[in-house]
């Protein structure tokens, strides 16, 4: 595994920011996740570790932070990092209905990209996307790995309400809205199962570093999964990724 340089910056009185080179890169992400697992064993459990793209932010709420001391420790732990990443990562398959009832921008996207709606659906659902970050909304995944042919700008006017489960395209990203929200992404389908459930023992199973694939489903299957999701008996297919 390649080794990457890091920089460590103060981030107020309760956080420290660790940064890797400014790139979207699977190797960097693996290193971050590996280092995160090391920090989880070194730091008290009150620390929260937030990975995203090329950074790992560590946040405390109880301790008075001694930046220079912690920086030395972090650097030492990073240098001692053994080379084999040991973090379990999973592939999740989420059902998506791309029917025009849900894919309200699919026609426009098809015109803009010069692809048929069928080609868009096939391309969008044949790729596995890497979760590079989680944020913006609870359970919102920043997914990387969108094929170049599906890149198009955000809508010029954002919508005041994009419905929960909407699957969208924006620039180099694709993703699912976990709740109703204002948003400017181009909506091409809807995922019938609740992505985030604050009442469940594990409200959101996906972690940064996991992969997501979308599985096209019919309107009938959508209705069925919607009910299954509401009563809590549908779980997306989950498989361990072997690097």
């Amino acid at each position: 595994m390649k080794s990457y340089p890091i920089t460590i910056k103060p981030f107020g009185q309760q956080a420290i920011l660790i940064e890797w080179p400014n790139e979207v890169d699977e190797g960097i992400l693996s290193t971050i996740l590996h280092f995160k697992s090391v920090l989880a064993s070194k730091l008290p459990t009150s620390w929260e570790l937030v990975p995203a793209y090329n950074s790992l932010t560590i946040v405390t709420r109880t301790e008075t932070l001694d930046f220079s001391k912690l920086k030395e420790e972090l650097l030492a732990w990073y240098q001692a990092l053994d080379k084999a990443p040991k973090v379990d990562r999973y592939l999740y398959k989420f059902p998506v209905c791309y029917d025009l009832e849900f894919g309200i921008d699919l026609k426009e996207v098809s015109d803009e990209l010069g692809m048929s709606t069928q080609e868009i659906i096939e391309s969008h659902s044949s790729h596995q996307y890497t979760v590079y970050g989680i944020g913006f909304l609870p359970g919102f995944m920043y997914l990387g790995g969108l094929p170049k042919t599906l890149e198009l700008p955000r809508r010029s006017t954002p919508r005041l309400k994009v419905v929960k489960g909407s699957v969208g395209l924006a620039a180099k990203q694709t993703g699912i809205y976990p709740q109703d929200s204002p948003g400017g992404w181009n909506i091409i389908g809807n995922c019938p199962i609740p992505i985030f459930n604050s009442q469940a023992p594990d409200p959101f199973m996906v972690k940064v570093g996991d992969k997501i694939q979308f599985v096209p489903i019919s309107k009938d299957a959508y209705k069925l999964h919607k009910i299954e999701g509401e009563v809590g008996i549908f779980s997306p297919e989950k498989t361990l990724i072997h690097d």
Binding site: K9, P10, F11, G12, Q13, Q14, A15, L17, E19, N22, V24, S46, E48, L49, V50, P51, A52, Y53, N54, S55, T57, V59, R61, F67, Y132, G133, I134, G135, F136, L137, P138, G139, F140, Y142, Q179, F196, S198, Q199, P203, F204, K207, V208
Partner: protein, 281 residues
């Protein structure tokens, strides 16, 4: 319990926050003015993270269904108990049937009401703090009932404290944020000499500043944010993230508020002014 006769402008249940779920994109929430929360719970000898009501600008009207002790902190909202004015930062005994209501906002923006033992509303993901849709409700509504345990005999060790009101304090202490270098020289000069105004776009998620700085074209990858993070948008606007603020963002984080500065800002409203003062770290 308390019965809500009128909910007020925006009244929420808040404790010290929902920790441990940042990596799932869940904001920490909790009292915007953590100092006021702490003081209220201190006077009532509650756990420091006991849940209170956070009352914004216009207070509710509440009827107590049990005997208890209460303490009001934060903004001065001219509260009355059975039409008699009651002081903030002081423990008051409350009888069954007593009515607490609020009047004119005299200073600050967010008041807190704590009861002995704390409010016992549902815990969702380790916290009682309202945050929709993590909690089913966004805020308290008319006719809601909020549970707490009856307390009959309580002799507070310290029945009252005097505090220096920080609601009117205009100086906001900040540290350099991770992308401090995105501030142009002209912006830097203005940032630490001029006054800035709170825009009408202010809520528990964030406070926007009316004045614009020079825009920043730095394209960064999305990265973590915390309460008190000051973002510079591509149009040159400053946004200060607060307790319900998103856990990640893609705008340069040019400044980071000192912890105590968040409490001060929580007591400010549209049109109020502030001055940033840079601390070294």
């Amino acid at each position: 319990m308390i019965k809500v006769l009128k909910s007020g402008f925006f009244t929420t249940i808040q404790d010290s926050g929902r920790f441990g779920f940042r990596d799932k994109g869940v904001p920490i929430s909790g009292a915007m003015d953590s100092r006021a929360l702490e003081k209220a719970n201190f006077l009532l000898e509650n756990e420091s993270d006991a849940a209170v009501l956070e009352i914004t600008m216009t207070g509710p009207t509440l009827i107590f269904e049990e005997h208890t002790y209460i303490c009001l902190t934060g903004a001065e909202l001219s509260a009355t108990l059975n039409n008699e004015p009651i002081a903030t930062y002081k423990v008051h005994e409350v009888h069954k049937g007593d009515i607490l209501s609020y009047g004119r906002l005299a200073y600050g923006f967010r008041g807190y009401l704590a009861v002995k033992g704390g409010f016992k509303s549902d815990v969702v993901m380790d916290s009682r703090s309202h945050f929709y849709p993590i909690t089913a409700q966004r805020c308290i509504q008319d006719y809601h009932e909020i549970p707490f345990d009856t307390t009959k005999d309580f002799n507070p060790k310290i029945p009252e404290i005097k505090i220096d009101t920080y609601a009117d304090q205009r100086e906001i202490l900040v540290y350099k944020g991770p992308e401090f270098r995105c501030l142009e020289d002209s912006s830097l000069k203005r940032l630490f000499t001029e006054e800035f105004t709170i825009a009408k776009e202010n809520n528990r998620m964030g406070y926007q500043i009316t004045e614009s700085l020079e825009a920043c074209k730095f394209a960064m990858l999305t990265s973590a944010t915390v309460p008190g993070t000051v973002q510079l948008t591509p149009s040159g606007k400053l946004i200060i993230l607060m307790k319900d603020g998103q856990t990640t963002g893609g705008y340069p984080r040019v400044l980071q508020l000192a912890t105590e500065a968040i409490d001060i800002l929580a007591q400010k409203k549209s049109g109020d002014t502030l001055k940033f003062k840079l601390l070294s770290q």
